[in-house]
């Protein structure tokens, strides 16, 4: 699945005990895709000595509820919203 700028997305709230880059305070939150930043090695596997391949798309997502904040979220943490 890939996302387009302007698309509404929800950050997955799934349990993940290992190393990952998805900030806890954004899990379950809905935001808007600003742009795709490109594809990068996956820190979740690379943190355990793996190559981190295949690369994962990374999106800049804007969250407006409360203090507006933008954050880079990997594609496999995003779900379609609404």
């Amino acid at each position: 699945m890939s996302f387009e700028p302007g698309q509404r997305v929800r950050v997955s709230a799934r349990e993940h005990r290992g190393h990952h880059r998805t900030p806890g305070y954004l899990k379950g939150r809905v935001g808007t895709v600003e742009r795709c930043q490109g594809s990068f090695t996956n820190p979740e596997t690379r943190a355990y000595g793996d190559s981190g391949l295949p690369k994962q798309a990374l999106y800049l997502v804007r969250f407006e509820n409360g203090h507006p904040v933008s954050a880079d979220i990997y594609e496999h943490w995003l779900e379609e919203a609404e």
């Binding site: 190393h19 806890g24 305070y25 899990k27 090695t41 943190a47």
Partner: protein, 93 residues
């Protein structure tokens, strides 16, 4: 959802952010160079560095400085990979 001790973004706090700068001590510069060399030679990567930092006991993590966390992680990851023997660094100090 409760994250690890490092996952502090968005948590309510009344503590002001410490923005003071300090001169880096020689051991801090050496730590930066060491971890950079380990990364460039493929011994350990930045994601492993971060995983090692996140594995610190929470109290130790909170009281440790930036490069103390790097050193803790480098020792942890290098021991895990068998580059260092457990306790090897203490034995040499």
């Amino acid at each position: 959802m409760e994250g690890g001790v490092h996952d502090t973004g968005g948590r309510p706090t009344t503590e002001p952010i410490d923005r003071t700068e300090h001169e880096l001590a020689e051991w801090e510069l050496l730590t930066d160079a060491l971890v950079g060399a380990l990364s460039r030679t493929g011994v350990m990567n930045v994601d492993e560095l971060r995983r090692g930092i996140e594995s610190m006991p929470p109290d130790e993590y909170r009281s440790a400085s930036y490069y103390e966390r790097w050193l803790y992680s480098a020792e942890t990851i290098l021991t895990e990979k068998g580059v260092l023997e457990p306790g090897e660094l203490e034995a040499r100090l």
